[in-house]
Amino acid sequence: MTDGQTSLGMPQLPAPDYPAEVRARLEADAKEIIARYPGSRSALLPMLHLVQAEDGYVTRTGMRFCADLLGLTTAEVTAVATFYTMYRRKPSGDYQVGVCTNTLCAVMGGDAIFEELKAHLGVGNAETTADGKVTLEHIECNAACDFAPVVMVNWEFFDNQTPESAKKIVDDLRAGRPVEPTRGAPLCTYKETARILAGFPDEREGAVEATGGAGPASLVGLRLAKGETSHHKIGHPRGEAAGGEGE
């Protein structure tokens, strides 16, 4: 769309292959992925993550690569790549900011956060800021409802968000300031995240232990059971705004 070309609905020519050295490098990774499975086709989902780690989205070249290595047609690969929401179909930003707007987070403030971010960044859903830094999306329930409202950046948890805290995150990301999640490792780029998803462990020092153990909400039941605190003092796990309430 942005290149000004109009699609005439004609079949496209086959995608070009990767340059030889890129292909050699990706082939080595792909073979490692394929070796994890009794049936080679099982490697397709991780290999599509691998393609995103290379290109930032699922390119036609990337799909051709998957098809070649797994003995599939590009149509079969495309059918899979378009089924799953984590595979991007166009170039996007270094940081994917996903605001949960499923019912519980939406009600708890996710809708307000998403509206504020759209206005603040001047982009709509699944659009990228002009500097190429931030792609804004609304996402579905991310299994952190006890930390609602939740924002995910490159699939790291930012718990108990407010419109103000979310705006600060995107401002920091765009300014190149370091941003750390509530639960998860210091942010890496979307491409680096995709490589972890392809099954290659995060090699960064301290990435596994970053932000420590279970989040505060995960521990409230345990603390009560141990008699460590009465409910008067559980306070509010929801960040600074309500933190003083129980003290």
């Binding site: 009600v107 409802c145 699939w155 309500a242």
Partner: protein, 449 residues
């Protein structure tokens, strides 16, 4: 709500029973070292001393039921695997936790991934499997990191790989990240996805126990189910059965969320009530009352404040007209518009419908159109019957349980809150202010009070 007086029989020490979560507050809780300090891999030693058949019988006798929502007896699932058939057997752990409201497996794996790995080794020994898979939803990279590390540690320590603990048992464990599709939590769709296909459910029979992954006998179990097995082996089935009820024995994770004072994980014997959980944890947020809640995620019919004393076990919730599901207790107070909540859930189901069967694909689409109109004040009274009718055409007539799940919030909200739908129609719009429902809505008030 008000603060309760002194602790009585609602004392959390009595009512809660942290097992899986017992040491989540310890430093480096996710490491092998910490796990070992808390009886980690002791259950495995006891399991390996039994014959596989005795082990299956033991887990069956414990009464452990699947924690992924359906409550099917775990030991029975294992027993269905044909033995001596000459085919490879597989264990696939369903870690695709995506049901709206459900948030138990992800914190469990973040805080203590080894309990799952130990359970996997035990289960694979029982069903004679040499290759297991953890299908983790992709959108939780912090958890993926810790699973990668825990699996590495387990291989290094000899709990995975060749000749585990000198018993001759070989086991490979592959961590597989999904790519964003709720339907892959359905076990046969998960298997198709794990085979590198679009995640669409399969026709059953054949069941996965006969023809699952690569058409081989396969057990698909939820994370919490498998992670509960080591403690049962280590502390005994009688200990396990001393908790909960005869038909729903044991402990489980309840996830409290929404307009409550203390959202979070509460591990307790099956059968605790929402009233007990709220009483011990400070109740609903100050100045508000419970309006509706889900016992086990958005796919389980909603409850109201009439159901505060329903025992949260499989039978109790079933008898009250819903399902225990994933024990995702999403609590909404009186500021919340039911129509808005149901519309959003329905949009979710329409987005996640895989498209394989017509009732679900078309039905969820049309439900969304009707609900959006009603929420925007453009509905008519006949739309309410139409909603019910479409939901009825999805429920029980779709290919898999996603369709049934989509119908649940429609039926139950119309049952308990039909008047509120009517208000949207007669009043030509939504009578609620969404700003009052937010987590920060009352902050300003509290400061100035």
């Amino acid at each position: 709500m008000t603060l309760a007086p002194e602790l009585s029989n609602s004392s959390p020490e009595k009512l809660l029973a942290p097992v899986l979560s017992a040491f989540w507050d310890q430093p480096h809780s996710w490491t092998l070292e910490t796990y070992r300090r808390h009886d980690g891999y002791e259950g495995l030693r006891k399991a390996l001393a039994m014959s596989p058949d005795d082990l299956i019988a033991y887990v069956k006798d414990s009464g452990l039921r699947g924690r992924g929502g359906a409550g099917f007896p775990t030991g029975m699932k294992w027993q269905f695997i044909p033995q001596g058939d000459g085919k490879p057997h597989y264990l696939v752990v369903n870690a695709d936790e995506s049901e709206p409201g459900t948030c138990k497996d992800i914190p469990l794996l973040f805080a203590n991934p080894h309990s799952l790995i130990e359970g996997i080794v035990i289960a694979c020994y029982a069903i004679r499997s040499n290759h297991a898979f953890i299908y983790l939803r992709g959108e939780v990279v912090p958890v993926l990191r810790r699973l990668h590390e825990a699996v590495r540690e387990a291989y290094e320590a000899g709990y995975l790989g060749k000749d585990i603990l000198g018993t001759g048992l070989d086991l490979e464990l592959t961590v597989h990240a999904g790519a964003g599709a709720y339907i892959c939590g359905e076990e046969t769709a998960l298997l198709d996805s794990l085979e590198g296909r679009r995640g669409q459910p399969r026709l059953r029979p054949p069941f996965p126990a006969v023809a699952g992954l690569y058409a081989c006998p396969t057990v698909v179990n939820n994370v919490e189910s498998i992670a509960s097995v080591p403690a049962i082996l280590n502390r005994g089935k009688d200990w396990f059965k001393s908790m909960g009820s005869e038909k729903s024995p044991g402990f489980t994770l309840y996830s409290l969320s929404g307009h409550v004072t203390s959202p979070g994980q509460y591990e307790a014997p099956l059968g605790i009530t929402l009233r007990q959980l709220l009483d011990m944890s400070g109740g609903m947020r100050a100045g508000h009352r419970l309006k509706f809640w889900t016992p086990g995620g958005s796919s389980t019919p909603m409850f109201t404040d009439e159901h505060l004393d329903v025992p949260l076990d499989y039978e109790g919730v079933g008898a009250a007209g819903s399902m225990l599901g994933t024990k995702a207790l999403q609590c909404f107070d009186e500021t919340t518009c039911v129509v808005r909540a149901v519309t959003r859930w329905t949009e979710f189901y329409a987005h996640e419908s895989c498209g394989k069967c017509t009732p679900c694909r078309e039905g969820t689409y049309w439900l969304v159109q009707l609900l959006r109109d009603i929420e925007a004040g453009k509905g008519t009274m006949s739309d309410l019957d139409k909603l019910n009718d479409i939901a009825d055409n999805i429920n029980g007539k779709s290919f898999c349980a996603l369709g049934d799940g989509a119908a649940s919030p429609i039926f139950s909200s119309l049952k308990y809150f039909r008047e509120e739908y009517e208000q949207h129609i007669t009043g030509r719009g939504c009578p609620f202010d969404p700003a009052k429902s937010t987590a920060w809505a009352d902050n300003h008030k509290e400061v100035t009070a």
